[in-house]
């Protein structure tokens, strides 16, 4: 069967009628429409997508976190190696951007999500519940903020590369005590 978001959606609806899942339209010419799953049902749906003999989406290629003004999203690009089809785009949404930035981890289903979920946690602050080893991936453990968020403000003197342009030049030529 040809895997399109619509066929996958129908199949999921047929098997898991209680799962809250909807089709999100992608206006770009790429036409990669995505399936938005409610986070409480995500693990169940993921298990189904991977194991269903018609779908066999056994390969979670890409996992990326996206920061939207009022929520964070984890986007999974799923492929079926058995059927050589894809991508099916699966998204889960957090409740908000701070206190409720939790999503279920899909690493138990697709091991390949391991590092990329850690990366999304590190850079965007999405807490993946059920992840076997949720630590920062790229930034160091003592780092406090999440640099890929849109509201992240980088400290100015942070590993700066001294360039002779403008105020940075003035800053480095000024005595250290004033800086």
């Amino acid at each position: 069967m040809t895997l399109t978001p619509q066929t996958v959606l129908d199949r999921v609806h047929a098997a898991l009628p209680q799962a809250r899942i909807e089709l999100l339209n992608n206006p770009s010419p790429s036409g990669q429409h995505s399936l938005l799953v409610h986070r409480d049902d995500a693990l169940e749906v993921a298990q189904f997508l991977k194991n269903d003999p018609e779908l066999l989406l056994d390969y979670a290629s890409n996992v990326s976190g996206v920061d939207y003004p009022d929520h964070l999203e984890a986007v999974y690009h799923l492929f079926s190696i058995a059927q050589k089809q894809g991508p099916i785009v699966l998204r889960t949404r957090t409740g908000d951007r701070s206190g409720d930035a939790c999503l279920p981890s899909l690493t138990p289903v697709w091991k390949s999500a391991d590092f990329q979920e850690r990366e999304a946690f590190d850079l965007l602050g999405i807490r993946f519940e059920g992840h076997p080893d949720l630590r920062r991936l790229l930034m160091w453990d003592e780092f406090v903020d999440h640099p890929l968020r849109k509201d992240y403000v980088a400290p100015e003197d942070y590993e700066y590369e001294p360039t002779p342009h403008g105020e940075i030049l003035a800053k480095i030529s000024a005595p250290a005590s004033q800086a």
Binding site: S28, P29, N62, S64, I81, P87, L138, M139
Partner: protein, 373 residues
């Protein structure tokens, strides 16, 4: 030296890296060893983290193109291609035929030089004193010279553009490239004679780091590492991007899934790439190299998102791009094959000797610029 927690055995915790001769850069592994046998291995990343994705959000769409050169700096041109492909999907840009052929030519040459360099690197990881590495680099150098003649830079090519390539082939370049590629099988034969029969190499590679097909798929391995485990999955065939459907080539796959299969698969892939190149040299048409509809300055793709991927030399190189219709990407995410191929590193390494860890790491073929971005 620490006592293992409750294990009762004397174990040794060693931090291999970030400064270590054979971690291919600033990769670090926290290894717990029982004697010389690895019982636990934890990769640590981030020593080369440059915030590539954050930087891209502050640049124009085209402005990220030179930065993709610096992802996997062994094969910058395929990185260019992956990004260009993703943006073309996002904005629905057509690419002229000649440009697609040029892309295939430079992309396959990149694959050849990456795999050749791999042969040298893995021998270095096995402790050979650099002979194989120097032979590999000797040939790689010649390909890089061809790249310099075409793109102006040996490594940091910055060659692809949305909807084509930046400049046309200079006069005589195609002949030079064709003549050079004709000499390649001879070099490869010599390399195989030098390496594949060597008893020490066989005993170092065979049976080491075995990975089953099922685990390889679940762990997201891609590229030669995935195919060595016996999975028939090549994005050039599956997605059929570019003009690959018009070219005849075979996809090799292994049967055991150990380091030796990964090693041999690279050699087999080089041979297939040579086939592809010869066809591409013969078929390349005349014509424009850039879609004239694409603007250099102020390029704005429509709102939406796209995931574009290519079969890079190291595996599936994907770009997930989200556009809000502006001059800058809203979100720019890279699926780096080097990083995700490391997911199963611990599974491969536990129970092997410390020297095998280096070989397994070498057989995965990572570049830290891409792992940490």
């Amino acid at each position: 030296m620490t006592e293992a927690d409750g294990a009762g055995a004397q174990t040794l915790d060693v931090s291999l890296g970030p400064q270590h001769p054979s971690t291919h850069g600033v990769f670090r592994m926290n290894v717990r060893m029982d004697g010389e046998t690895v019982v636990k291995l934890q990769p640590v990343f981030g020593y080369l983290h440059r915030n590539h994705e954050k930087l891209a959000e502050g640049k124009s769409w085209l402005g990220s193109m030179p930065f993709t050169d610096r992802l996997d700096y062994i094969c910058p041109i395929t990185n260019n291609w992956g990004y260009a492909l993703a943006v073309e999907k996002l904005a629905g840009i057509e690419v002229p035929d000649r440009a697609e052929y040029i892309r295939v030519i430079v992309g396959e040459m990149t694959r050849i030089q990456n795999h050749t360099a791999f042969l040298g690197f893995i021998l270095g990881d096995m402790g050979a004193w650099g002979s194989a590495l120097m032979y590999a680099f000797r040939e790689r150098e010649k390909i890089l010279d061809l790249f310099e003649g075409l793109t102006g830079a040996r490594m940091m090519a910055n060659y692809m553009r949305f909807g084509g390539v930046r400049c046309d082939l200079p006069a005589g370049w195609l002949e030079k490239a064709r003549a050079y590629i004709e000499t390649y099988p001879a070099f490869l034969d010599e390399m195989e004679k030098f390496l594949t029969g060597n008893e020490i190499l066989l005993s170092r590679l065979q049976g080491v780091g075995v990975m089953s097909a099922e685990r390889a798929i679940n762990g997201g391995l891609s590229g030669p590492v995935l195919r060595a485990s016996g999975v028939d999955y090549d994005i050039r065939k599956v997605d059929g991007y570019g003009v690959y459907p018009r070219l005849k080539f075979r996809v090799p796959r292994g049967t055991v899934g150990d380091c030796f299969d990964r090693f041999m698969l690279r050699i087999l892939e080089i041979r297939e790439s040579i086939q592809i190149l010869q066809q591409a040299f013969a078929q390349i048409p005349q014509g424009p190299i850039l879609n004239p509809a694409v603007k250099t300055r102020g390029f704005k793709p429509p709102v939406g998102e796209a995931y574009g991927r290519i079969e890079g030399p190291k595996g599936e190189l994907g770009f997930h791009l989200v556009s809000d219709g502006g001059e800058k990407p809203y979100r720019y995410h890279i699926r780096p094959p080097s990083l995700i191929n490391l997911t199963l590193l611990e599974e491969m390494c536990v129970g092997t000797k410390i020297a095998d860890v280096m070989v397994i790491l070498g057989s995965i073929d990572i570049v830290l610029g891409e792992v940490d971005r």
